[in-house]
Amino acid sequence: MAAASTIAIVGASLTGQSAAATLREEGFDGRVVLVGAEPQLPYDRPPLSKNYLRGGMPFEKTLLRPPEFYREREIEMRLATTVVRVDIEKRALQLAGGDRLEFDNVLIATGGRNRRFPIPGLDLPGVYDLRTIADADRIRDAIVRGGRAVVVGMGFIGAEVAASMRQCGLEVTAIEPFKTPLYRALGEDIGRVVEALHRDHGVAMILGDAVAAFEGKGRVERVVTRDGRRIECELAVFGLGIEPVTEVVAGTGVRVDNGIVVDDQCRTNVPGVFAAGDVANHFHPVCGRQMRVEHWQNGVKQGAAAARSILGRGQPYDEVHWFWSDQYDANIQYAGFHAAWDAVVVRGSLAERKFLAFYMAEGRVESVVAINQGRDLRRTLPIIKARVAVDPARLADPNVDLRTLAPAERPA
């Protein structure tokens, strides 16, 4: 690649900054431009539902890199700048306001935006969702004002927000349409453990019911459910998942299907156009199918993998996907390739909330969830990657070192 070439990165968050940093680490001495819609330097989102939301962390601590990091590496920051479209033919970004930015290669790391459903009253003041630091600040202000809160949707974000609001002393009611929190990810048995975790911490849980409307005069005053419940509240937070932000490549010929479709080296079907992070529907070589994940670790690692791929030094990106969720005193971790399972093997105690649960398919470990068992969860990653049958009795036996169940790691 010519030294004078320009690599543009659309999206200045976790994935984008990881890619920019990796380009410099790899010795790329051309121009690197990081374009982000938000005004802040790249910051870390996991604290937004936890420590930051509880008021225990200043904004500066959420910055992924100090400001000088970008200056020293001559990474150009174009913040508060919206990319309207990637002009593939002219190799330029069209920016809001009319500016253009020419590039030789572009990485799309636009991430996701919160899903919204046409629920009456969703736009009432006092009804919040959480994705950005600005969102977190609005919810934080509402928490400080206090009162009764309703959380709509007990996925990971909803569950973390419910926990944080309880920790701040609010009265919290959670509404979840499935039988348990995190039901789709974890199934009923483990979902019940998470339900108990929240009930034990004082969350009123409404399961198997859904929000029909947010009501109030000029501001949310209650949530009405499909089954006719009316829950009075001063604030409500909904967490209904995200959708990938792909408009910048709409109509350009770049393939979009549940995100931007890329191969195992972050390449789209158009040469010179790459994608990584939450927006990338990537081919995973270990399980042999496309997948899109919204995990912190994938943002870091796939951003770095994309950078190397742009420089012609790509390797198949074959990380075992992994994430954590901290709720109260429970460090929940999950790893693997969320898929159908035919058995769940438990190691440890569900009642004590100190265990691993292995999701099995045809004798293999497809994925694993752990509460307060991070070391063993990490030891499970090579077992998942190996895709071989494992003896369930040995998985379940806490006296068996999980490292002995994994085939020897391949040399790096």
Binding site: W296, G374, R375, R378, R379
Partner: protein, 102 residues
Amino acid sequence: MARFVTVAKADSIQPGQIIKVEIDNFPVAVANVDGTFHAFDDTCTHEDCSLADGDLVRTAVVCPCHFAEFDVRTGAVLAPPATVPVRVYTVRVQGNDLQVEF
């Protein structure tokens, strides 16, 4: 005034193992890397997790909560989400006494 404090018997920590000790009620982790001992703050600089509960992979300790990694010899961050190095301490072995300068 820094002084050496005996924290454990040297032969009680196997290669590849990390233990947690307390010095003046302050948690310190001690790792055995192929017979050489390294001491460092037990609390991860990212969030309140005990590094002694994590794995030792060659000279790296992996935090069990969020998989931040530190070099046990220098305290340097090897993997995020941690950004701040962990403090390391001088270690010596006197006879079978493992001592940490604190």
